[in-house]
Subunit: 159 residues, 3 copies
């Protein structure tokens, strides 16, 4: 069966990274019924941050937007590893975007759009999700973004 979702990723010029290894004693994702809870993803590749610093101080909104895209690709890599295929995603249910924010920075939504826009570009209507955008003090490895995702999976994969 063709991998439609990954075709769209390719059309966008994007490739899935290897799924990031947890940096501590937890697992990349956990399934309960037909919900998949994905561990926090950040803009790293092979354990190295691609962006460091805070919005409103060290990084522009455009850089934050790109960091959110990279973090989301890590989430997609985890989801694919868990489900076998991104086509098994029925719906992206919810995403929370935590944005490391310097005092006075209030444009968290524009930053998290980097991930939201990509979800809709890749999954279409199934990528439309409920969302929160929160500005936080500090994130692991000094990255500017961490994403939380809850995904509904196709019933036939119900574990």
């Amino acid at each position: 069966m063709a991998s439609f979702v990954e075709d769209r990723l390719r059309e966008l010029g994007l490739a899935l990274p290897p799924p990031p290894a947890p940096v501590a004693t937890y697992i990349p994702a956990s399934r309960a019924g037909n919900l998949l809870f994905v561990s926090g993803v950040i803009p790293v590749r092979q354990g190295q941050p691609l962006f460091r610093g805070k919005l409103g101080q060290d990084l522009t909104v455009e850089q934050g937007y790109e960091a959110a895209r990279i973090a989301l690709l890590n989430a997609l890599a985890i989801i694919k590893e868990e489900l076998g295929s991104l086509n098994s995603v029925r719906q992206i249910v919810r995403m929370t975007g935590y944005v490391a924010s310097h005092t006075g920075f209030h444009d968290q939504p524009a930053v998290i759009n980097g991930a939201s826009d990509l979800l809709v570009a890749v999954f279409g209507v199934s990528g439309r999700h409920a969302r929160l955008a929160i500005g936080v003090a500090e994130l692991p490895l000094a990255v500017p973004i961490e994403l939380e995702l809850i995904v509904q999976i196709e019933e036939n994969l119900h574990g």
Copy 2:
């Protein structure tokens, strides 16, 4: 059928606002089985913040409490729009209250009570929820409060 929950809102002198439009590429709420995940709600009306600033610096606990009530009314407006009626709520499952907090402010629970108290006033026992209160650095539009809600809906509405 009478709208009991909205009757209680009226008795409290409250009216539902129009549901807030998302300020970015996401949707107001997402359903997975009989769980409804509501997007982050903040104390805005027609896109304009009714409160701005941080607790412990710009706003009193009483103002924060009122801001939490207003944010919650936005959540109720979204839930009504999604379900057709607030009577279709079986249980408010969980709420997280993110409170923009100046250094040294630790009274997040008293602020979030503005939303929790209103949930119980409006829904009765169905409004009793698990909760977290978190003090964060900055929130979108400089608002002092953002709420996360997960709602269980009546089985006959199971999508």
Copy 3:
């Protein structure tokens, strides 16, 4: 039936505290289907914080690790009270660790490991969970840690 999970707690030299009373108008946990959403737990005993302050300023990573363990014991006490026995836990689905973080502190994962390591020690493979670690500005009662947990319960307890 023997309480295997509590046996493991005893072997670790740990005892469950009385479940913490909510400090405001909410409930300790809420069930939706076979998911149990636990309210935010912090390192308190009988309402008194055992640790206060921020990581990167007032507390070492080792102290934060211990605070996370204590917060988790409070979560376990709540879960036992809700389910009757910790053996009714099918899976710890997700944990979010909010760490009160001074500017420049980025070792949230090492702190939250205090809770993650204990979950795995106590529940074995059922304790392996998805996780987020977030550095926040301030927490209630000036504690350094707050934990969010979602737990899947055994089907025969499905409410």
